[in-house]
């Protein structure tokens, strides 16, 4: 069949053309098969169409190399059915007295299925809510922290600092004396010390001194609005 042919095609031609796939797969009725046969004698376009459809058909019906193993799949289906039966039985035991149980197990399917689905839905909702709460808890209180993690400030804390692990107590005390700071808490697990000021010296000055020392790994004001010479 060509487009040119189709544009001037008679309804009979279009009808026959539409039947070709079922003529090819052999599912067409005897009467229609005879109609197609008669038309094919006269119509070269439909003969071409038929040849093409046969190639498509042969291509699509080519045997697949993969052989499936239905027995394994069937076992999985049986397990699913067993699960449904078990759930249904559990519901029956809860809801129905033994004497009132139907003799044929397939009778209560619809109701029991709905009940078991409802129970599963409730359980899933509770599980989801629980997981959500856990997620929220984790999100609000991470199980890690950094030296800049915001935590409650110790009273009087102006600086947080981390010193070299190799620093001696004498060296630490000397740095703190020079910066006019004192330890008010720490070190934390991350090695962070909370420092308070011992004098009216500007925090920025103490901070600069700490940062200039080789054995100070990190020093930061806990009062971000502080500027040079400012004091809380």
């Amino acid at each position: 069949m060509t487009y040119k042919h189709r544009s001037s095609a008679a309804p009979e031609h279009q009808e026959i053309s539409a039947l070709i796939p079922w003529y090819v797969n052999g599912s067409i009725g005897e009467h229609e098969r005879q109609r197609v046969d008669a038309h094919l004698i006269l119509c070269a376009c439909c003969r071409d169409d038929l040849a093409q459809e046969r190639r498509v058909y042969q291509g699509m019906t080519a045997e697949t190399a993969v052989e499936y193993m239905p027995a394994i799949s069937l076992k999985r289906l049986q397990a699913r059915l067993d699960g449904v039966v078990a759930a249904a039985s559990a519901d029956v035991q809860v809801d129905v007295p033994a004497a009132a149980k139907p003799a044929r197990r397939w009778m209560p399917w619809q109701g029991l299925m709905a009940a078991s689905v409802a129970v599963m839905a409730v359980a899933l909702s509770l599980l989801a809510a629980d997981r959500w709460m856990q997620f929220r808890a984790r999100a609000s209180a991470p199980n890690y922290y950094t030296v800049t993690t915001s935590t409650a400030h110790a009273p009087g804390e102006v600086i947080r600092a981390v010193f070299s692990p190799a620093i001696t107590l004498v060296e630490l005390q000397a740095i703190l004396d020079e910066a006019q700071l004192r330890i008010i808490s720490g070190p934390t697990e991350a090695g962070v010390y909370s420092l308070a000021a011992n004098s009216p010296r500007p925090v920025s000055s103490s901070l600069a001194l700490l940062r200039g020392h080789a054995k100070v790994r990190f020093a930061e004001s806990t009062q971000p609005s502080l500027g040079p010479g400012d004091r809380p």
């Binding site: 060509t2 796939p21 190639r55 058909y57 699509m60 993969v66 799949s73 289906l77 397939w106």
Partner: protein
Amino acid sequence: MTVLAKNSAKEHDTALLVAVAAGNRQALEELYLSYHRRLARFLSRFTPRYENVEEIINDTFMVVWQSAKDFRYASQVSTWIIGIAYRTALKSLRRQKNHNAAQNLDDYPEQTVDPTIETEVQDWLRRGLNQLPVEQRLTLELAYNMGHSMEEIAAITECPVGTVKARMFHAREKLRQYLPTLSGAAPEMSARSE
């Protein structure tokens, strides 16, 4: 299959489904085994991963098990079962498409077609089929892969016969654009596009 054998198969299917409706698991298993191969063969053309094929088949037979008692035998048992598989597959394919997880058959040529019969025509065909909308491809597969009649496809897909014809028409038209080698005569193909 002869008419006699077909009728016998239909009667056997009907007897099995009646037993399934009465809660006979053994009948369900027999029905499952008798349909597994053709359903797997049909479905594997869309989802080459066997896990997906098995899931669709098992979902189908869960529905068969649960709904057998509601079947009124107005249509053939095979049409009913394949209809359930069709709708299950359609849902699965749309879900895969939505999640961009649909597997392209081109990714699995060695798994879907016997390499000994792999030809250029089949390569074109596979590519062409992959370009068709799901409903059109399913219609073509139901006809050519499963051998269903127009009326059976209408029953399986729960569509009017006219819709089946239209889907088949459009599928064939699109395939022609993708399958130049199928004409067997290049000059004619170029004449077609004029």
